[in-house]
Symmetry: C2
Subunit: 356 residues, 2 copies
């Protein structure tokens, strides 16, 4: 049975990336060696990481000011590493509290300096994106989460501020063109739109570094990683390879503009179906709906299990909502085929008729 993978991350990857990854495990570049067995300082691997970096720079249209790093530890490590590197003990950073991950980032930042929560959607369980808010011009930076995987909201514009922008883009990275040069720091776990779990993309503007006095261990210091070209210690070779293959696939398919086009087609189909069926209730504000993660309830909660069973029987996995929100969630990242969303929408219509 064909599987439809609606996982929130780790999640669906392009079939050709999977095929190429499996091939590289058996025989990388026809070397007679596995990608798992080659040294990270060989020209073979340096070519991989350099190609990945170039693709990131190309997609983001970055100049010399920005450095591209491939680190370990996921976005959760970045919640700590960002303030550790950028926020002095007596300085203040502005944070948007608009989702579970943003809240975690705030908690971490408080270990290092002052935090000014300038915008929050906590009053309505993070079901919308805050619109009217002011960022003090002396804030060290403004941190926000561009897409909220758990709640299903997404920022469709970049906050208007003059302070450096720091963004967690884990769940919508490379799903749309953006003015990436407006950001001082961007980070993203790879396991949603750009690869497998085990590597984290960090893009940092060099002028933001070296502005605080704290002693930082080299392994947590962006500057050391820049100087070592992401090879300060053994990097997650295979995860970087899969990210490179996924970036290559994005380019071949037509780049970020094409990814956005596909995301809109998928999301429109899904949300239109959702809105047309009174059996289902969307959770988030219409104008703030994420193109990546759609959250919803069944009007009659008792039907949830029956619906999930139906999904399972039809090879649809990953639809249960995050434990903190409940209900249901459908994730539709870059590699999600339209046919999977079509299959799900048909099932929803069929389910609505049978249980309406």
């Amino acid at each position: 049975m064909q599987k439809h993978n609606f996982n929130s991350g780790p999640s669906v990857l392009p079939q050709e990336v999977l095929t190429q990854s499996a091939e590289a495990i058996l025989n990388f570049n026809n070397l007679g060696l596995s990608i798992l067995e080659i040294g990270h300082r060989t020209s073979w691997f340096v070519d991989v990481i350099e190609e990945a970096k170039l693709l990131v720079k190309e997609f983001m249209q970055l100049g010399e000011d920005h450095e591209v790093l491939f680190l370990q530890g996921g976005a959760t490590t970045q919640f700590m590493q960002v303030p550790l590197n950028l926020l002095g003990d007596t300085e203040t950073a502005a944070y948007c509290d608009n989702g579970i991950w943003g809240s975690k980032a705030i908690k971490e930042a408080k270990l290092f300096g002052n935090v000014n929560v300038v915008a929050s959607s906590k009053d309505k369980k993070h079901s919308y994106i805050p619109k009217e808010f002011t960022v003090p011009t002396d804030a060290k930076y403004l941190h926000y989460t561009t897409n909220n995987t758990v709640e299903g909201t997404e920022w469709h514009t970049i906050p208007d501020t003059t302070v450096p922008l720091v963004a967690d883009m884990s769940s919508d990275i490379f799903s749309r063109p953006m003015d990436f040069n407006r950001f001082g720091l961007i980070y993203a776990g790879a396991q949603k739109n750009m690869g497998a779990a085990g590597v984290t993309l960090v893009v940092v503007k060099k002028s933001l570094l070296g502005t605080i006095n704290r002693k930082i261990s080299p392994i947590l210091d962006y500057q050391s990683h820049i100087e070592a070209n992401s090879l300060l210690n053994t990097p997650p070779v295979f995860a970087i390879y899969v990210a490179m293959l996924t970036l290559r696939w994005i380019k071949k398919e037509g780049g970020l503009a094409e990814m956005e086009k596909r995301a809109k087609v998928r999301a429109n189909l899904f949300y239109n179906t959702l809105d047309s069926l009174p059996l289902f209730t969307p959770i988030v504000a219409k104008e703030d709906r994420s193109l990546m993660n759609a959250t919803f309830f069944l009007k009659d909660e008792a039907l949830e299990t029956a619906f999930l069973d139906e999904c399972k029987q039809n090879g649809m996995v990953g639809i249960k909502g995050h434990r903190s929100v409940g209900g249901l969630r459908v994730s539709m990242y870059n590699a999600m085929p339209l046919s999977s969303v079509e299959a799900l929408c048909s099932l929803m219509q069929y389910f609505a008729i049978s249980h309406g």
Copy 2:
């Protein structure tokens, strides 16, 4: 041409682990999904990480006092995370300075507390293991590197001390039975004897934790990872899977006793050949030779390139020494077939005759 992989890490893996890993990328457990696409909180992955933990506990014969964690960031991250978690600002830890990685661990520890270097082999470029030294009984712990990948030395006994032992076992983990219960903390990057790059094994005795007052970010706090069962955030799913397969392979082949037997056969063959050929000069003290990494020079340095060319032409890779030591290095981890060492020894004999 068959390759002989003498890489120092990432390095040779068992062929069946490669085959199984490639299969799991195309279709994991016959689910119709890739191991790269499944959620880390699914029962499918929880089964993987639990099996890996159980195998570690079995190999190490650990009781309830020790916890097994799978973290990210490599041993270099542990150089920082160990003193961050265990060493108070005014406390003193004892360290052995017997190799390049141990020296780095010392540098990191100094950021957090006092370091007493109780044993050093720096006087002879770390070419031997210090034997006679005293560890103050009030040291918080004694840190040492069981096997020095770069220099080619290995501790063949456990230091005799009453203070908690902390060991970096990155390059000889699971290559021999040891009294693992004597250790307070053990860490090891997976990419030599137990898998691919991207995951780090940490085994910690619970009673060692919670003894200092420092505020620690949860992502760097062993206690948080213990409470979250290594699922505090998205773990490196595939790297943990490959580690589990490698551990399974070790067990199937006969466990640590068998690994040690094979290591001795390989190393004896190699060192006997080395000692029999005056063209080659071993680097380290005979009694401290590593069973994993053998370092040596060519008596006539000018022949080095010719020797490396000969190796390359015969499919032997990874033999160039680390840049800090120079010369040549042969790494022979768990998965290294005896036939590769035999092929190398034949080549050395042939080379000695042609250039003797």
